[in-house]
Subunit: 173 residues, 2 copies
Amino acid sequence: MKYGIALFPSKRIQDFANSYRKRYDSHYALIPPHLTLKEPFEADDQQIKEMVKELRKIAAETDLIPLKVTKFSSFYPASNVIYLKVEPNETLQRLYERLHSGIFADKPEYVFVPHITIGRDLPSAEYADVYGQLQMQKVHFEETVDRFHLLYQLENGSWTVYETFLVGGKEQE
Amino acid sequence: MKYGIALFPSKRIQDFANSYRKRYDSHYALIPPHLTLKEPFEADDQQIKEMVKELRKIAAETDLIPLKVTKFSSFYPASNVIYLKVEPNETLQRLYERLHSGIFADKPEYVFVPHITIGRDLPSAEYADVYGQLQMQKVHFEETVDRFHLLYQLENGSWTVYETFLVGGKEQE
């Protein structure tokens, strides 16, 4: 089965992101607004059991995650993806690294650019127009996130949450 | 915020349900195929904190949940909803009752009819046609579910998972 690991920002950020995703993101109906911590990967039942154990351990050792959204940005020219930029921080970076090492090790790593996608698959002309407008908008959200999620993909491309992992010592509460 | 409690069946049942929901369920893009354990309810941050604690306790005291899907059925004439019938069982019934008593107590209870909706909001003529066809189909799934989820609703009507609760002593594994 195909799994992925993501973090959902608060409802207010999700609602804000969706107001754009509705028009600009072809994945709008497949998953709520999110920050990808690990790109989709294949795992069988036995592997995922081991991974869940490891994720619990990683979560227990992860602090509350600061989330600061500061502007619209884009991966252009690499891709036409438009996103809400999330300021990198040590907790997020460390979590990302742990999700890409040990049993989670995979392909040569890209630099981690934390982001919440709000647009993709736009034709070039529309992309330029939309991005031009968004760049001028002010965006500022600051919050703390206390959980991340392991999800799996259905045949129609949509994602179902498999399990939640609480960080910042929340499991003990 | 508006919350709900649901159980997701396995991927194979979700894929099966989605093959119908895609055409017949207006909520197809809002939430993966699910069995509702508690209808949407309002709760503030403080209330939900208490409820999460209670849900952990309930989950710890709940056995693995048998899930047996046996046929297509409908709530007609009460509504045009078409669903996959889930055979009632003691574990499911007991869980439902606990999610409707104590701090979860709400309106006068309906009888709990466990189901996975696959069609709704169909015009009467289409409903009759679709339901007529589905009724003749054989359906049989049997599995065990080891978790349920607390979700919250975004402004666009879609649902994001807030937290997973493992049953059957899974937390201790």
